[in-house]
């Protein structure tokens, strides 16, 4: 092609115009990046998806000094961990605050991603009666690394009509054996979480702890921690899962069940028992009012008859990024976000219960929940067994999921096999 001569070309303008447009666009995008509100810093809070509780308190806690905005993380706790950890590993300064699931707190703290909670803030948290379990889960190597925000636990939900039919006395503690038998004999299904995900390990951990054991001990040793899942308590846990999975009480979708699908099973005609988090109480208000009226609640079932159950512990702690440009402001903001008032507002909107006794005193909660249910929640959080605090929890959890899933394949050899596998994975000798 012949090159165009530049002699007397009358139209150099479009290029200049395009250049100006590009420069303008660049300048405006740079300006936008500086934050609009006349230099008022913006604190970005990465939250787990909820029904608006965290966004509401972000607004309440914004001050003349800073604005707190929220960014939503993926639904799945494992995916939340991945997204946060990868950005923090790259020292991303755009994360100021984040909602962290308790099992991953140790991993983040160990990697140096989290700013330490100052002493005065810690004193305040103790003053507002933050539950011991919540404080333990928020502590790594004797340092408080996240602000306990909400503390969740599971209780045993049941359909009153079903227990009447089956003739079970729910005023006394019940065992897993009892409820599986009752559902099996009466053509009903039990709702649990047994998909290949963190929720399944929550169930396994509660069963093991309920039998007086632990998944692992000496977590401080890191990859050399002692795996004790193969002990008797692990056997008891495996026996219950095997019994449920091979009985008629197992829902058809057992191997892919999560909190949501288990809730659907419970709400169906075959619903009988369900182990699930606190928000279930208002789950059916709009969608199935008949079911809502039929819900009863009791303490989490016992793994071994006569031995107190250890309900699962869940919740969210608010961490401040070590790499935040506004670390001090973020630490200040976090104190407001976990105040009893904020915990109460969040509980009112989302059904995720406060992490402190003062939080439970939030007046509107009494209107929303029966007094004995609030008591049950607090007693369950007190007795709850958190998953072991170790920076390698995701490996441990992933290894357990690999061996214990699907539930119908669980048998008496499963605990021992998983013990060996976890050890191999931790030492880097096996793929996960």
């Amino acid at each position: 092609m012949a090159s165009r001569s530049s002699t007397g070309s009358p139209r150099p303008r479009p290029r200049r115009a395009a250049g100006s447009v590009a420069a303008l666009a660049l300048a405006s995008s740079l300006l936008a990046a500086c934050g609009g509100d006349g230099g008022k810093p913006e604190l970005v809070w990465y939250i787990n998806p909820d029904s608006g509780g965290q966004a509401a308190i972000a607004k309440d806690c914004s001050t003349d000094e800073y604005t707190i905005t929220t960014q939503v993380l993926p639904q799945d706790a494992g995916q939340q961990r991945i997204q946060l950890a990868r950005r923090l590993a790259a020292k991303d300064p755009s994360i100021d605050l984040m909602s962290i699931d308790p099992p991953f707190t140790a991993e983040f703290a160990d990697a140096g991603f989290l700013a330490e909670v100052p002493q005065d803030a810690k004193a305040k948290l103790e003053e507002q009666g933050t539950f011991k379990g919540a404080m333990d889960a928020a502590t790594w190597k004797d340092k408080l690394v996240v602000f306990p925000f909400w503390s969740n636990t599971q209780v045993l939900w049941y359909r009153k009509s079903f227990v009447d039919k089956a003739g079970i006395d729910m005023s006394q503690p019940v065992t897993w054996d009892q409820i599986i038998d009752a559902a099996d004999e009466n053509d009903a299904k039990i709702g649990v979480q047994a998909n290949k995900y963190e929720g399944y390990v929550v169930w396994i951990n509660a069963l093991v702890e309920g039998a007086g054991g632990h998944i692992l001990e000496d977590a401080g040793e890191g990859v050399d921690a002692k795996i004790t899942l193969g002990d008797e308590a692990g056997q008891d846990a495996a026996a219950i899962i095997e019994k449920l999975a091979t009985s008629e009480a197992a829902p058809a979708d057992l191997s892919v069940s999560n909190e949501g699908t288990a809730g659907s099973t419970f709400g169906s005609d075959q619903g009988s028992f369900l182990v699930n988090w606190t928000y279930i109480w208002h789950n059916y208000d709009d969608t199935a009012p008949d079911v809502a009226k039929d819900i009863g609640y009791a303490r989490y079932p016992q793994t071994v008859e006569g031995e107190e159950s250890r309900p699962p512990y869940g919740g969210i702690g608010i961490g401040v990024s070590e790499f935040s440009d506004e670390k001090d402001l973020a630490l200040e903001a976090a104190q407001c976000l976990v105040s009893p008032e904020s915990q109460g507002v969040n509980a009112e909107i989302t059904g995720n219960m406060p992490a402190s006794t003062k939080g439970y005193e939030y007046p509107k909660l009494e209107d929303q929940y029966p007094a004995d249910l609030l008591e049950l929640f607090q007693a369950s959080v007190d007795a709850a067994a958190p998953r072991t605090v170790t920076p390698y929890w995701s490996d441990v959890s992933g290894a357990i999921q690999n061996i214990w899933h699907p539930p119908r394949a669980v048998d008496k050899d499963t605990p021992e096999r998983s013990t060996v596998f976890i050890e191999d994975v931790l030492k880097g000798g096996d793929l996960l």
């Binding site: 991945i82 950890a85 160990d110 990697a111 058809a252 191997s255 699907p406 880097g428 793929l431 996960l432």
Partner: protein
Amino acid sequence: MTATMAPEKDVTKAAKRAASDRAQAENRLGLKLVAPAVVLMLLVTAWPMIQALYLSLFRYRLTAPDDRAFVGIDNYLTILSDDQFWKSTLTTLLIMVVTVAVELVIGFAFAMVMHRIVFARGLMRTSILIPYGIITVVSAFAWQFAFSLNNGFVNSWFNWLPFIADDTNWFGDYPHAMFAIMVSEIWKTTPFMALLLLAGLAQVSEDMLEAAKVDGATWTQRLTKVILPNMRAAIMVAVLFRALDAYRIFDNIFVMTKGAEGTQSISFLTYRQVIEQMQLGLGSAMSVLLFLSVLLLAWLIVKLFRVDLAQARGEG
């Protein structure tokens, strides 16, 4: 270039030198013009590959940066002696062989339809190509919902079949889950296969077909003796492309089963090491092995079926 230079043989030496000077200048200009692209390519492809190769020799975890240590080829030995690696490889090969075979048959039928259709040609071609335009993740979710026990339609529509019941859990065991994954994969990529085959069909000369017809060849004879042999190169390229694609299957498995029930593919296993476990060392070693196995597969297919890429492009 050589072809265009050929007629200049007779011209004088001086002219020839001038031409070659000019050619050299053009070459230099050409190199300068492609240089930025080459540099960019090296930056975005070669550099990460070299880095992966380097990282694969370390024990290195993103969340435990202080624990980094050189381990030589230990990571490779760990992987190659691991059950899961071989099981995943087998699963991946199974998915590859079945989906490519089914896609080849259906894709060929679609290509024939697109080639021969007289009325509503554009509409028909577009509708056949729609699945290929859909993002794989979206298609995976669509099929997951379709097969879902709680809100899918597959169970209620097909419960008259002997092996499907109202409460069939499609993601509850290996055969069912693999079936669902393969259906999604086939649905999504058959149009691509059809498109490649259509290009091959278009190369088959109408004269040959007419000659065969005049000679009294039946439809089957025309298909097997004229059409297919003349499309061989196109078919092989289609198989090669799809086989390599299928071997790297990830999205469908990630969305539908998350690797449960033994449906983990080799890409998914790699993802778990690098992204989920943040084991950069072990994960990089897996990526290198994945890369090598794709390379090996490509070489095998090219050698085994004697694919001639130049011929497929119509240069042969």
